[in-house]
Amino acid sequence: MSSYLECNARERIARVFDTGSFEEFLPPAARVVSPHLAQLDAPVSFDDGVIVGRGLLNGQVVFGAAQEGGFMGGAVGEVHGAKLAGMLQRAVAERAHAVLLLLESGGVRLHEANAGLIAVSEVMRAILEVRAAGIPVVVLIGGSNGCFGGMGIAARCANTIVMSEEGRLAMSGPEVIETAHGVEEFDSRDRALVWRTTGGKHRYLLGDCQMLVADNTDAFRLAALDAIAATQGHAALTLADLEAEHLMLATRLRDFGAAAEPMDIWKTMGIPDPAAIPMLEAHDFTERVQPFRKGAH
């Protein structure tokens, strides 16, 4: 069993998809590298930090991508974003059974600023196109860099997000917030606080993450299969979906908007012994919080 956290992007793809089934589009041998990094004296990567392609999941054709958190924090540049968008387009054209996105990203790659920003927006629209075509989009988040920035927004355009406790999903990183408003606002070195605020368990409790699994690639694989099966036939975004989400978000704001700290939210939800939450194993955690968590899908 492999730790999802410790695997690199290629290893995750190899372990989540059926063994040997993944065919990479525009592989490293094609050498399509970033055109913008050389002028900043930064190294390139032959896949520009993302693997895109098509494989099998229990025999069904699933298109997928995995961002390499080790390269530039998995951040999206021109080529990286175009690879994602192209794969998503192809998934629609070839009527994929599902799309699986293994996300690990700081968001827009600052070295490519404007190109990255537009690219993230194109990826968001492309994800929504896939859903509109009736194809489930499942996101896996469990890498050490988390899923931040524009990719944190894009992730929430998918049908389902699967996270491990180690994963994080947010918009701005704690360092950015601390730089803007000081350590009292958000102490970026308080790891426990960072994970209470943006980590998988908290997101699961709030209803922004629909499945919480242990940190191993088998668990992510199984969760992906379950998520796809549960979404078949209703992947497209409907008005009812949006209204339900709107209600969830409005209620969240009303009920938890005055909370000073995430544990206060867990208390307000009625979870017994909230201080124990961070210590629980994934399975125990999900069982214990089932009656209390929001956005149950």
Binding site: A42, V44, F46, F71
Partner: protein, 104 residues
């Protein structure tokens, strides 16, 4: 960034057809792209590195690599972000292993 090129002759081991990639371009690490290429029997290695001024070290590591593996008609391309010689050798060995199915 610095680009370094090496060419070695007199090898004997063939590579499998499919290009392979090993490693990640993260701090202290490197990626190695290895593929079969018609090079009149030579093994060509191109390195793009973020750590400038280590030409002599790279030369030594590459020569050792060629002595170990003796690859022919092989193109190896490296994107390096300051890996130590030990890590470089490790990745090169991993790459060569996947392409020859064997040990040095």
């Amino acid at each position: 960034m610095e680009t370094l090129n090496y060419r070695f002759e007199h090898g004997r081991r063939q590579l499998a057809a499919m290009p392979q990639l090993v490693g990640v371009v993260s701090s202290g690490n490197l990626e190695v792209l290895i593929e079969a290429a018609p090079l009149n029997g030579a093994c060509e290695i191109e390195i793009r590195t973020a750590a400038n001024g280590f030409g002599a070290t790279w030369q030594a590591v590459m020569s050792d690599f060629h002595e170990r593996w003796q690859l022919i008609d092989a193109r190896i391309c490296i994107n390096d972000m300051g890996a130590t010689p030990a890590v470089v050798s490790l990745r090169l060995d991993q790459a060569a292993e996947t392409m020859t199915g064997g040990l040095p």
